[in-house]
Amino acid sequence: MQTARRDLSIYGAFIGMMPKVFMAYQVWFWVGLVLNIISMAILVYFWRAIYNDTGTISGLGLNQTLTYILLAFIFMPLTSIDVVWEIGSNLREGTIIHHLLRPINFQGMNYAQSLGILGMRLLLQLPMAVVAVLLFGLRFPADLSTWLAFLVSALLGFTVMFFFNWFLACLTFYTTEIWGLGVLIEGMSFFLSGSLVPLVMMPEWIRTIVLSIPFAQALAVPVSLLTGITPLTEAPRVWLVQVLWILGMWLASSLFFKVAVRKITVQGG
């Protein structure tokens, strides 16, 4: 009886702790929502002011541009770099050894995980989608085939980014510095993924740069399909380019990983 009561109070404390942990996350959920609304509002008012005395820019009207910007905002998780953090923390804590010893493909396992995280992150963007519709007048495209073309392209683009991130993550085998690398990638991707400006508005030479590095494949390319900036008839060509990107990045990242893993120095653990 004594021990039962003791157990109850100990484990009861753990039960009681969970709502607090949950609340802590919940606070961040609401705060994150407000912060996102601020960022979204700035983008919207900036673009409205830009269109003040002009009808179209590079062939895009205000509505089409706003739709692009808002959808890019909502689908931003497609460019997230979780693999870099994941491999980084595995290296730092030394757990990477266990993963490498397991009889499964390490890259495959990470890909599956990233897909799971992507699903979660997209689900968490739902409130922002509602905000975009209610506050900023976003209208989702109604055409089913557009959505299908987008979904295929988004999945392909996400895969491109996965292998590209894998490639970058291999750098941490040499530098053992993860945080700085991660922030640097995120900062560059902010512009280079096309989340701030539709690609068609960029000067030729910038567009060439943006299209010869992978960030845009995950965001600007699929979102352009979804908003109709890239016509639906172009979809097969877009997919093909993305598949070529995947092949290239997959090869490069696998090779780099093979070389880099020999350099492995685990920081204690």
Partner: protein, 262 residues
């Protein structure tokens, strides 16, 4: 006063010694902020190549606004970044009690404890933008305009610090104050662009409630001879009032503080 200046100097030297131990982090920290700012500015540049007029403001005028708020932010970032971590690093761990037994003002101790090198990146970005834009705009730096530049940046920096102070004091009650501070702090993003592009509500918010407008839009308006410019001279008073409120709130919170028992 001189005693505190001397003390700050000693704290700074100690901090720099620590930073020099991790030189790579030092450089990465400062440059990461530069990359983020470069992304936003690149976007503005691309768009304003196509349309050179953002509600009556041209590209360089927008850069001046952007640069001023970034400079103000860097003052807060370099010298008062520790306010963010009051709850997480000092109160939760009990480390804050250390400040209370020392013969100096605990708020001074908290601020002096960590000079934040990441702010240097923002400082460089802000300086570059202000210099670049004022050269391209051919601004004639008369004494009143030069004075306004300094008044705007310094009172802007103090407004950043005061708002962070007010929100961070909540850590004495709720321990983790970061969400609340973030909620207020992120409103400064509005002030990166001319306030005139926003609806009236946001203008009132950024002028009278969370007055980041005094860090960028109003000083820039004065320097560029715009209609809303004269209000910029209110900046120092707004900053002083907020700092006064912040310090009183801090003292009130300190009285309440009893440690977390760690």
């Amino acid at each position: 006063m001189t005693r505190y200046l001397n003390l700050y100097w000693y704290f700074l030297i100690q901090r720099l010694k620590v930073l020099m131990e991790y030189r790579a982090n030092f450089i990465l920290g400062a440059s990461s902020t530069i990359v983020w700012q470069a992304s936003s500015i690149a976007a503005v540049w691309v768009v304003m190549q196509k349309v050179s007029n953002l509600n009556g403001w041209n590209y360089d005028e927008v850069l001046l606004i952007y640069g001023l708020v970034t400079l103000s932010k860097s003052i807060n970032h370099m010298f008062a970044d520790n306010l963010w971590t009051l709850g997480r690093q000092y109160i939760r761990s009990g480390g804050f009690d250390r400040f209370l037994v020392r013969p100096i003002d605990p708020l001074f101790h908290l601020l002096a404890d960590r000079f934040c090198q990441d702010g240097i990146g923002n400082f460089l970005v802000g300086m570059t933008l202000v210099i670049k834009s004022s050269i391209d705009l051919g601004i004639d730096w008369t004494p009143p305009r030069l004075l306004m530049l300094i008044v705007g940046v310094v009172s802007g920096g103090l407004i950043f610090i005061a708002l962070n102070l007010i929100t961070c004091v909540t850590a004495f009650w709720i321990v983790d104050s970061v969400p609340i501070t973030r909620l207020v702090f992120d409103n400064h993003l509005f002030a990166q662009y001319p306030l005139s592009i926003y609806p009236k509500v946001i203008n009132i918010l950024l002028t009278w409630i969370i007055p980041y407008g005094f860090a960028s839009f109003y000083p820039a308006s004065y320097v560029l001879n715009r209609a809303a410019g004269d209000i910029a001279w209110l900046g120092p008073f707004v900053a002083a009032l907020l700092l006064f409120l912040g310090y009183r709130f801090w003292q009130f919170g300190l009285k309440y503080y009893s440690g977390t028992g760690t």
